[in-house]
Symmetry: C2
Subunit: 378 residues, 2 copies
């Protein structure tokens, strides 16, 4: 292999692949990245066997070939280069000679043949969706992914394929769900007749989030043999799917509500954060009380050791008065997931699921995102 490429492209490719490498790999070669020439470009790949990333960048190729080298070493090397000269790469046996201006190194590599195969798609795209939708909703959904290892089926993000795509996560204490639109490709209808619900590790979506920029428009998706492929411009991310059946959560989302409360998100966030300071760190309880007549919402908490706190907020309330006990963390994650100035809280009883939604300036409730939190029963 012998080639040159811009330092900017090379740095970005190294940075974005190096990241998927786990801290402690069982196989030394998994701490390496694979450099290989492919169709007139340089392809940089890394994998942790669950998740693989490969990035193709423009290069002037004099001689094709491939090598794998330690990711951390090459990452630190390019990080210390001044942003001046192109990068020149040349392999001599199992050594990569890299140079950029006056900075040069011979890096010992390993046999590219031993590098694990990163699955490739047949390039049959199933659908594409908006990168900006993913950018908006995935950070709101990820906090709800279960960290309980005994229930692998809820340890990822559920993706339901239909006329829209529904993304959801739950840890059984709360649930977040978003609907995003898609561009179907030819084979979409046939595919969803067989498979319409997938479970995707949240790391795959985190990697997608890191790759997309505010300029990224579309993300192409393919699904084959228990693997999901995301293609974002010249970057491919491939992840295994999680086996199992995602719980039928739709049935717990109420369709009607007794009480509707609209209030300022920022004020609610501050009051709940402050109240959470006056709860026990492990199993805290904060009390949320609404009085319709006065348009009054009271957030309070107390503990023997720390003291007590009560904040009164004003809001628009319709329906019967309510008194709900929340776990502050689950409630806070929900409030944080609301990105409108005002938040709407929809309640039936003190023991049924409470729904948080975004609401625009004309008080129109946005139904494409739902956060559900279970109250603590007295």
């Amino acid at each position: 292999m012998k080639l040159s490429c811009t330092q900017e492209n090379f740095k970005r490719a190294i940075f974005n692949t190096e990241r998927v490498i786990g801290k402690q790999s069982s196989l030394p070669i998994l701490e390496n990245i694979l450099l290989e020439t492919e169709k007139g470009m340089l392809k940089v790949s890394a994998t942790n066997l669950e998740l693989g990333v490969s990035i193709r960048i423009g290069a002037k190729i004099e001689e094709s070939g491939k090598i794998t080298i330690p990711a951390k070493l090459i990452g630190n090397f390019v990080n210390n280069l001044p942003n001046e000269d192109n990068v020149i790469l040349e392999t001599k046996d199992q050594v990569l000679q890299i140079s950029s201006g006056k900075y040069k190194a011979d890096i010992k590599g390993l046999e590219a043949q031993d590098f694990p195969i990163i699955p490739e798609t047949t390039d049959e795209i199933l659908f594409s969706f908006s990168a900006q939708n993913i950018r908006e909703f995935i950070p709101k959904i990820i906090p709800c992914v279960s960290v309980d290892n005994t229930r692998p089926e809820i340890s990822g993000i559920n993706m339901i394929l239909n006329e829209k795509i529904t993304l959801a996560a739950t840890d059984s204490f709360r649930l977040a769900e978003a609907e995003v639109s898609l561009n179907k490709k030819n084979n979409y209808s046939t595919f969803i007749n067989k498979t319409s619900s997938l479970i995707i590790p949240s790391n795959a979506f985190l990697e997608v989030l890191r790759i997309i920029t505010p300029e990224t428009e579309e993300i192409d998706v393919a699904i084959e043999e228990n693997q999901i492929f995301f293609q974002i411009e010249n970057t491919k991310i491939v992840s295994r799917l999680i086996n199992g059946k995602y719980p039928e959560y739709k049935q717990i989302i109420p369709e009607k509500f007794e009480t509707k409360i609209i209030l300022k998100k920022e004020e609610l966030l501050r009051s709940v954060k402050i109240a959470s300071l006056f709860t026990n760190s492990k199993a805290g309880e904060i009390i949320f009380k609404s009085t319709a007549g006065e348009g009054k919402i009271e957030i309070s908490a107390q503990t023997e050791e720390r003291g007590e706190n009560k904040t009164e907020l004003k809001g628009k309330i319709s329906g019967p008065d309510q008194e709900i006990i929340f776990n502050p963390r689950y409630f806070l994650d929900g409030i944080n997931s609301i990105s409108t100035q005002e938040i709407v809280i929809l309640i039936n009883t003190s023991s049924s699921p409470v729904v948080l939604r975004m609401i625009d300036e004309k008080e129109k409730i946005q139904n494409n995102f739902t956060y559900i939190v279970m109250p603590i029963k007295k």
Copy 2:
């Protein structure tokens, strides 16, 4: 106690005192801060028994008094307040009622009588020095402070009081020394006749660094009964001194040098960083080679597993050629401590102390800061 003060002042006082509190205190009261009215102001104090900080802020006092409350709780409370209203404090028995606009809390406190006494000065200032000198030199000196617990006498910063103040630190592998000018007060000469060398915990200087702003001009210093007091506007920092005799390090600083090398600091930094990647992480060795005739400096390193690296730099060299082996970390800390565009390296032999100094655009060597690194002997 009953008073009000601006939220900005109160937040700053809480933030700057809360920090000295250790993570795990043996005494619960050490996790508290002390609030007390004093001379028409509110004084906020915290201590970890080695280091104490107290900050006085303007307040409208209706009733004097004092209370101690958990630092973390009050810190988180004020952090969550919107920057709008003043803070009102009122004590009821062992409870602090705090409110700011619509946000209120009753925080359980402890008896102020049980709070450890933070030593007070007799207000006899011994000298003052420039805050900007401290801001410049302390970060260059602190990396050299020894972390070896068996040698407490080098576990702090040495301060020698004379016509100038000399600050130094060493871990026996390298040494950094800075000279700063001072304004002596009346009692200075009498004092230094008895005591002219002190050892100050680096945490005390770190705290000073955190308190001073680019606008701070002078730091007043008093020394009494094994304690040092720094006064910066309305903030007082008090620290115990370290007992022991600081090593007579002056004798190891060479006065004459055989070889003088001037080169670009940024280039040297990059080459040494890159070379350090090709050393063993624990006991790395990089080779620094200078050839006077060609004005050539060569930085190189290699290991069996990782590969090798060599960078050639240009510089102005006078005196015999040199080949020195450095520990990359100690050499890097030294290069990092140079804040001029060019660095001067002064060498006698491959086994004698090497000196790094700053040098200005007119190639005048700045003698107020010296970094010494011991080469690795072959």
